[in-house]
Amino acid sequence: MTTATEAVGDRPAPPPEDLDRPRPSGPRPWRSRLYRWDVRYSPYAFVAPFFLFFSAFGVFPLLYTGWASLHRVELATPDQLEWVGLHNYARLLGDDFFWNALRNTFTIGVLSTVPQLLMALGLAHLLHYRLRAAAFWRVALLTPYATSVAAATLVFVLLYGRDYGMVNWALGAVGVGPVDWQNSTWSAQLAVSSIVIWRWTGYNALIYLAAMQAVPAELYESAALDGASRAQQFRYVTVPALRQTILFTVVVSTIGATQLFGEPLLFGGAGGQKGGASHQFQTLGLYLYEQGWFNFHLGRASAVAWTMFLILLLIGAVNLLIARGLRKSR
């Protein structure tokens, strides 16, 4: 990171025309020296803005979160840090709501990621056929991605309404009694997961489709010559060729699931940071928000953030191991 900051000093290489004024011994030596400087340092100038912003708003806050997690910090006086060591972490591990949030994050994560990626894979397979109006299908399936978390959740809250919601109305039509979607644990988690699934399935389908288009056609031809059916081609040609992409989407979805926040917050309506009356769909993200901005303990919120960070590192490490295993098994 130091190189980026050093480079700022020699940043804007002025265009040579501007320096025609002081020419005691002709412009040549000046120009060529300037030119050499420009060639040598301009690359740093080009990457400097990115790394400057990135250090200021990415790296520094991440590290400082770790530092703040070892302190008592009140929301009203965020500039006063009182050293408490690992106290925040100890409190966290002793808090039932933390473990509850961790469990919820995991179950909602599984409930949303697994069906989403499976459906995306199937959809990508269909989109890979020669289609009429191919562009239309792709754009239409991507529209949920254009809908924000907030707008999507608001309409799903209405759809999942206990008394007048369309889902319960449809269930009633086939004789299934009304479900209190918000207040029982599994139904609430299913409902929250369905919002995530709705928003991201089309997006992941496009990612799989892109990977499928990169699979050489000869592989399918020879499989077809060997008498493989469409289903067998999918199972034995497409899926193995997509292993890296599938792993990539699993990691991205897992990261998304770990920080799930907007959907459960708004699904809970007023007081949504609790994630339901008995915290039945409070995720780690909501728990962090509640600790920091409703219980006024920024230090504890930081401890939650760093715990999430460690969980992500763990996921990253597991992912690396799997990726290495995949490469070996080729």
């Binding site: 804007p12 289609l131 991507l142 529209t143």
Partner: protein
């Protein structure tokens, strides 16, 4: 995308705006299998599922609140759309929120595109110390979620008295590691190194090279990255909800206020959701193909 004239005469240049257009891709004679009726049926089903919540948002936004508290739920449009939109626009600050969001998303998209292109160009075509290390750092941090740095960001913003001001949501998202990587991958292939060297031999300064050589070549990818960043910034949720209040909200913050009981009228809430989504839906109808292409391009490269 009328900018193709400025591009070098290299036939193999990938164009993310065009790449997925189905009519253009060369097909091998064996080709892909033609879709059957079942395929179309399943796709239609999923498309309906994708579009239905949006259509229903509009339906409920056109009804009055009492109608939404009855079964069966309404399926057809009512006549109160404009009234409800007006109420949402005024009472829920949706007008101000839309204005703010256009400002924020525009600034973020512009910053991301410019800084990603300069950095992507340097990583793709220039030689300098630590190039590989810096690139790896960039890629490695693509996965770190912004939620982890929220507490210090909040401290800084509170210290500077920036709470409720737009710069507090613009500055932290002004650059993107994904953007740098995306532009780098594009420029590695699309920008002939000889072109840069030729301009150098002619004595062009770095800024001139950037302006007259890099930007024209990068324009299609810049447009795609700009659209992706705009959508992302428009829908950004966690940090704006913390940094801003209902007094000076972005669309997402205003919608959060609606969802948490700021206005008790369901029909008005849905009108607000509709207002907050329409601009992006409009953009999707106009540029959907390019956005799809950008996502698929990014996927293959990433």
């Amino acid at each position: 995308m009328t900018t193709t004239t400025g591009r070098p005469p290299a036939g193999r240049v990938p164009d993310p705006a065009r790449a997925p257009a189905p009519g253009r891709r060369p097909r091998s004679p064996a080709g892909r299998l033609r879709a059957g009726p079942v395929t179309y049926a399943v796709l239609a089903l999923f498309t309906a599922g994708s579009l239905f919540p949006l259509v229903w948002t509009a339906v409920t936004a056109s009804r009055d609140n009492a109608r939404l508290a009855r079964t069966p739920p309404p399926f057809r449009f009512g006549d109160r759309l404009l009234t409800n939109l007006g109420t949402a626009w005024g009472e829920a600050h949706m007008g101000l929120a839309l204005f703010n969001t256009v400002l924020v998303a525009g600034a973020v998209a512009l910053g991301t595109v410019v800084f990603s292109t300069t950095a992507g160009f340097a990583f793709a075509k220039l030689r300098f110390r630590f190039r590989t290390a810096l690139l790896l750092t960039t890629v490695g941090t693509m996965m770190v979620p912004p939620q982890l740095s929220v507490v210090p960001l909040f401290m800084v913003v509170a210290e500077l008295h920036w709470t409720d001001q737009l710069q507090s949501v613009v500055l932290p998202t002004l650059v993107s590691a994904f953007g740098v990587f995306f532009m780098r991958q594009y420029l590695v292939e699309a920008l002939p190194t000889e072109l840069v060297e030729a301009a150098r031999v002619d004595g062009a300064s770095s800024l001139r090279v950037l302006w007259h050589v890099v930007f024209p070549v990068a324009r299609p990818a810049m447009a795609v990255l700009g659209m992706l960043s705009f959508v992302q910034a428009w829908n950004d949720f966690f940090w704006p909800v913390i940094a801003l209040t209902q007094e000076n909200p972005t669309v997402q913050v205003a919608l959060t206020g609606l969802g948490r009981g700021y206005v008790p009228d369901q029909a008005v809430i849905m009108a607000g959701a509709l207002l907050g989504t329409l601009p992006l839906l409009l953009a999707f109808t106009l540029f959907g193909r390019q956005i799809v292409g950008g996502i698929m391009q990014g996927a293959v490269k990433g």
